[in-house]
């Protein structure tokens, strides 16, 4: 085996190496993008810019966590953005009525409820997650619009604690890291080391095999989608602290980028492969790419074209490199 490996051509060896460490090409790409940015606008790469980039990447990375976790089982969560928006909006409008801690709890409840409905449909009715989450997203949007008419008089308040978390910085670091670092560590540890995390990979690689080995799929799906709803709700709260203006379509523009972040990060949309560490790098790449495209003096249309083409190109190269399907 060893001799074979040594005599293998350089290209194969590099491909094998990258296949073993899929994060490396992503990080290289991230630094290449930052390099291009620095070349275009010398001096942009400073502490302040890094802080801002990280600040905007964190809500995206959290929303992409919903996509990563569900994609591990071969699913997707298209209702995540709606759940996040609902949490943010409900929280902001309830603050004056019930106080901050209670408002946050009330805000997270509908997001978890959406997740539970998703989980129910996927687990018991065997509905394709794409359809199920699309439908619950529609219902959620409708409910939010109706809810808005009841609270139109109350006005909305963003609690100071959330805007501290969303926009503030301590010693140059964005405060959102206080929430995100434990979250990311928990998720990366959870997906590798806990039974639940391994069940996600098992169900995603081969559902029948997992079932025959005694996995109760429905419990996993129900817990997974409820968790996804909860994460979406929390990321919505964080995002509203950053944007500071709750609206009915607050988080919706982040939905497709969150799917893209998970995919660029190497999570297979068919399940069983990938992980959250790649997604974090994916979210950073997308955020830097956004800045890069904004700096280019281009019409909005051309920017969107480039954004789409780059997502496609990165995914293609990545899939070739790591030889996954």
């Amino acid at each position: 085996m060893t001799t074979e490996r040594e005599t293998a051509p350089m290209g194969t060896r590099i491909a094998r190496f990258l296949g073993d460490y899929p994060l490396i090409p992503l990080i290289v790409l991230l630094f290449a993008l930052i390099g291009v940015l620095e070349f275009m606008r010398p001096g942009i790469f400073n502490e302040r810019w890094i802080g801002n980039t990280v600040k905007f990447a964190i809500p995206l990375a959290m929303l992409a966590a919903c996509q990563t976790l569900t994609m591990l089982t071969g699913g997707i969560d298209l209702s995540a953005a709606v759940a996040a928006t609902i949490s943010a909006f409900v929280m902001a409008t309830q603050v004056q009525l019930v106080g901050v801690p209670m408002a946050i709890v009330i805000g997270l409840l509908p997001a978890i409820a959406i997740g539970l409905v998703n989980g129910f449909g996927v687990a018991f009715c065997r509905v394709h997650p794409l359809i199920m989450t699309l439908g619950t997203g529609l219902i959620g949007t409708g409910c939010l619009q109706v809810y808005q008419r009841f609270v139109i008089a109350t006005g909305s308040v963003i609690p100071d604690s959330l805007s501290w978390l969303g926009t503030g910085r301590t010693w140059g670091f964005p405060n959102a890291l206080v929430l995100f670092v434990p979250f990311a560590i928990l998720l990366i540890w959870g997906q590798r080391r806990t039974g639940f995390g391994r069940l996600l990979y098992a169900l995603g690689s081969n559902e029948t095999a997992a079932r025959i080995s005694g996995v109760r799929g429905w419990q996993v799906y129900l817990a997974l989608y409820a968790l996804s709803g909860l994460i979406a709700g929390v990321s919505g709260l964080l995002y509203v602290g950053l944007i500071k203006a709750p609206s009915l379509s607050l988080v919706n523009p982040l939905l497709l980028p969150s799917v893209a972040a998970a995919v660029i990060g190497g999570t297979s949309i068919f399940g069983g492969r990938g992980g959250y560490s790649g997604t974090i790098v994916g979210a950073l790449i997308l955020t830097v790419l956004g800045t890069l495209l904004t700096l280019l003096q281009m019409p909005e249309g051309a920017r969107r074209i480039l954004f789409g083409l780059i997502i496609l190109a990165v995914t293609t190269i990545y899939i070739r490199l790591t030889d996954q399907r």
């Binding site: 997707i76 409905v117 449909g121 018991f124 009715c125 065997r126 509905v127 394709h128 794409l130 359809i131 199920m132 699309l134 439908g135 619950t136 997203g137 529609l138 219902i139 959620g140 949007t141 409708g142 409910c143 619009q145 109706v146 008419r149 497709l256 799917v259 893209a260 995919v263 297979s268 949309i269 068919f270 019409p299 909005e300 249309g301 051309a302 920017r303 969107r304 074209i305 480039l306 954004f307 789409g308 083409l309 997502i311 496609l312 995914t315 293609t316 899939i319 070739r320 399907r325």
Partner: protein, 316 residues
């Protein structure tokens, strides 16, 4: 044989439901008549074409998230090409828009086949690309539609209760779909949808068939964008809500996500059902926001029931 009955049974059930909805409509709004039918049919037109396109790729075992963006591209190119064009120019514009649609779909399909990236991801990326193209063609709503083209979908033909837009829809879909589904290509599309490997081993050229399926989807999307421009008179570069609606109608219409089963009749009836529900709720002066909830609930309940029924069928 039983599968045939159950398949037709779904379409018949949808038809019965649609008829029931029409009865309900006349109960809610006794004035509902010719003009109501006309506006329903005209409002349904772009949704129906988006659904037809989506149905073809879903039958082929794929999905196309860029359908609404392609419609936007077709709509703005139609508006720009027709602006100030005479009779001959308009015909050329229509042919051009349809060609653009075919090309966009073929590019989607080719990207999926040659990059080997999953279809959801490719069409997600192409969604941004086509959206950008539409914005490049026309930054703000503008352009114009030739008036006589507009006549094609306004008013009625032969019978007063037969809206022209409905006839237009039936003719367009029939002209594209009937020859296609009878042809070798149509059979191949069903084949790659139901089992790609089996299709490959029986000599179907999987890649080319997939590209063709996406091209047909692009053609339908172009028709959808064209009718949008025809009915509003201007080109709109921001994609409308056609993606979600078309997926909902395709699933409601009995096309199985994953491919190989279903046809275009069911999804198109389903589109009419969804539009009519929306119209009924508006007529019954229900809050338009509640309408969104009802639409979503119908979709979710139907697919859940469908899933449960499919499981029962597998067990017995």
């Amino acid at each position: 044989m039983t599968r045939l009955i159950s398949k037709q049974g779904w379409v018949l059930g949808l038809l019965a439901f649609l008829a029931l909805l029409f009865v309900l409509t006349t109960v809610i709004q006794p004035d509902f008549g010719i003009s109501g039918l006309d506006s329903l049919s005209r409002a349904t037109l772009p949704f129906a074409f988006a659904t037809a396109g989506m149905a073809v790729v879903v039958i082929a075992g794929g999905i196309d998230l860029s359908v609404a963006s392609m419609m936007a591209v077709a709509g703005v190119s139609a508006a720009v090409l027709m602006d100030g064009a005479g009779g001959g120019g308009t015909v050329l514009a229509v042919v051009g828009v349809l060609a653009i649609g075919l090309a966009m779909g073929a590019i989607n399909g080719a990207a999926i086949v040659y990059t080997r990236v999953p279809d959801i991801v490719v069409t997600l990326a192409m969604l941004f690309v086509w959206e950008g193209v539409a914005l490049l063609i026309l930054k703000a709503p503008g352009g114009a539609a030739t008036p006589w083209l507009r006549e094609l979908i306004v008013g009625n033909v032969i019978f007063p209760w037969l809206p022209r837009s409905f006839v237009f829809l039936v003719v367009c879909v029939a002209v594209i779909w009937i020859p296609l589904s009878r042809s070798r290509l149509g059979l191949s599309i069903y084949a790659i949808g139901s089992n790609e490997l089996a299709a490959y081993r029986s000599g179907v050229s999987v890649g080319l068939t997939r590209i063709a399926a996406y091209a047909v989807c692009g053609l339908f999307a172009a028709l959808g964008g064209l009718t949008l421009t025809m009915s509003t008179g201007i080109g709109e570069p921001i994609p409308g809500p056609y993606l979600m609606a078309s997926v909902a109608a395709v699933v409601l219409g009995g096309v199985v996500l994953g491919g190989g089963r279903g046809a275009l009749l069911g999804p198109i009836i389903a589109v009419f059902i969804l539009r009519l529900v929306r119209m009924d709720l508006t007529l019954a002066s229900v809050d338009p926001n509640v309408t969104t909830i009802v639409e979503g609930t119908i979709m979710v309940v139907v697919v859940m029931l469908g899933g449960v029924l499919a499981m029962k069928g597998r067990k017995t």
